[in-house]
Point group: C2
Chain length 352, copies 2
């Protein structure tokens, strides 16, 4: 299984994606193809030797070969002759945040019939919008933290007591997220969050909560579940801490939790995953409070695909890559057009 | 405001879309551009004089000019020179069913920065999947009919009493939908529904329910709401009946309902619409049972855009077209990459 890593994107997590791609390059064998989506919507084929963060911050990529989406792959459009980009079987969608995780990339790759590992449209929309995640969790019988929604033009009235946590409705990676300890801090936190989204989610900040991350995927009836991690945190992981997190390549120590909680976490993960997240390797972040499990968020494209949680990351990925969801092929037979033409009544069109 | 009608698509509603586009051509002034998406994913510029159903059923479109998506529009790729397709300001997304209503077309048009009237990604996914519609309705305090879900590989056990209604989870236009009056009919109905989707929604079939359709859109703070229609039906509108429905161009008589119900229907419509469906003209189908309103389904691209419900359809559309949702422009500044390079610790990558 040969992969092309697709990264970048017009997203607040653009840089995170670059760091994540560089980390994954180190972890995976047989990745020689790197497709960068710049913030203007242009695709570039990045030579493996150029996969350094400075190549992007210095705009060196602008001189690399441009690609355009075309049925079955990415086209290198030459002056006299066009040819398809080669060197991979499956795309790894590593565009974090907008475009990558909101359904855009899934739609593009589905439309152009390019096989990929990553969340499909529905999975993207449900996990990207934190409110939809909660509605989904509710629908499958998984608890989540209670919440209020504020729109950018609505009155800033909140029923919860402080401390609160304020989050843009649609971003990942802690961007724009604040813990608000008292009323005097609220306006600033809301201003920050509204910089990133027109809607903001507000939750009570629960002190002393335990957090556990579970990553994995399902291939047919087989589950690949990584080590459960209890992320270190200092109050709340801010963007800079999480950013460093995206470049991780070293394996972690498994969280020390009792068997019952561990089983329940894995059970909850499986409920969230199936079948919505088929084709993706995802990470779910759970809270445990007084023995009760709450879904915090779903990362359908975790930083560097959470490689550090798996004993055999390459094996899990290769297995996933050989068993991707298929789209139904739909071919019209124009039977109904014939029917309407022969049966049309006074209210129907006459086809002219 | 000049429109291009985008229609077709690799969907079971492909033919419906053709009929719908032909109907809309008759209703709207200043539409001279027609973009057909065939079932293989190729776009064609259809000359207005060729907008007849036979042009598609006879595959005459294959000789029309091919188009490819490109930043800002559709490109006509000539042998020596390429040029952008002209003659329109805004796309009307009239691809019913898969692709058009599932978020694919929204993603493509957003990605290539082509303005369009139609549901955005989130609106598409929430309305296309009937279960997500129910979860969404629940989240905004609108009731819907209770349901069970069956997966293609799950046991065919249903708790509801007969009669039931069996629906593929993700299709519109009544395709694959059956009313099941007794147990002996159930297996066949499920087989039919599973032809179209791997998941099937089952609801109790409620006798004597009233059905009302409300269509409209919001532009800024102004609402355009069409006449409320009580669709005629004989038991349940099947695909052929609904198909005829897509070609409607003649205005309808307003349903005779009391003021309270009418107000509540419009209130419910507004709750469903805002803000999720901004940029689209949608139709919501409601049930009224014992004075209580239930959301049945959301059609984010109703047949021929439900033109027949509006006194001034062109006016509503033109207003919508001048006030489309904008995507936030996100430009990376590569500040964090600099930060990581200077601050990286032992666990982070070295950018090589």
């Amino acid at each position: 299984m040969k992969y092309a890593i697709l990264f970048g994107g017009a997203s607040f997590e653009h840089e995170i994606s670059i760091v994540s791609a560089i980390a994954l390059k180190k972890v995976l064998k047989n990745v020689e193809t790197f497709i960068f989506l710049d913030s203007e919507g242009e695709f570039y084929a990045i030579p493996p030797t150029s996969m350094k963060s400075t190549h992007f911050s210095d705009r060196g990529f602008k001189k690399d070969e441009k690609l355009t989406l075309s049925k079955g792959g990415f086209l290198k459009r030459g002056l006299f002759k066009s040819s398809m980009l080669e060197g991979f079987d499956v795309i790894l969608n590593l565009i974090h945040g907008a475009q990558g995780e909101d359904g855009t990339i899934a739609s593009l790759l589905d439309f152009y019939e390019i096989p990929y590992i990553g969340p499909r449209k529905e999975a993207s929309v449900i996990s990207f919008n934190k409110r939809f995640t909660k509605l989904y969790a509710d629908g499958i019988g998984i608890k989540s933290v209670e919440y209020e929604l504020l729109k950018i033009d609505s009155k800033r009235e909140i029923a919860f007591d402080f401390p609160l946590i304020v989050k843009p409705l649609r971003l990942g990676s802690s961007i724009g997220v604040s813990v608000v300890k008292q009323k005097s801090e609220l306006d600033f936190a809301l201003d920050v969050a509204f910089e990133f989204d027109d809607e903001v989610l507000i939750e009570p900040f629960i002190e002393g909560i335990e957090e556990y991350n579970v990553a994995g995927c399902r291939v047919g009836s087989e589950w690949y579940i990584g080590k459960i991690e209890a992320p270190k945190k200092d109050g709340y992981l801010d963007f800079e801490q999480k950013y460093m997190d995206f470049s991780r390549t070293q394996s972690v120590l498994e969280a020390q939790i009792d068997n019952r909680v561990q089983e329940e976490l894995i059970d909850s993960f499986k409920k969230v995953y199936a079948n919505l997240f088929e084709g993706a390797l995802v990470r779910c972040d759970f809270f445990v409070k007084d023995g009760e499990i709450l879904l915090n968020e779903i990362n359908p494209i975790p930083g560097s695909l959470a490689n550090y949680l798996f004993d055999d990351f390459q094996g899990a990925l290769d297995s996933l890559g050989t068993s991707l969801p298929k789209n139904r092929s739909i071919k019209p037979d124009y039977a109904y057009i014939g029917l309407v033409k022969s049966a049309k009544g006074p209210q129907t069109g006459n086809g002219r």
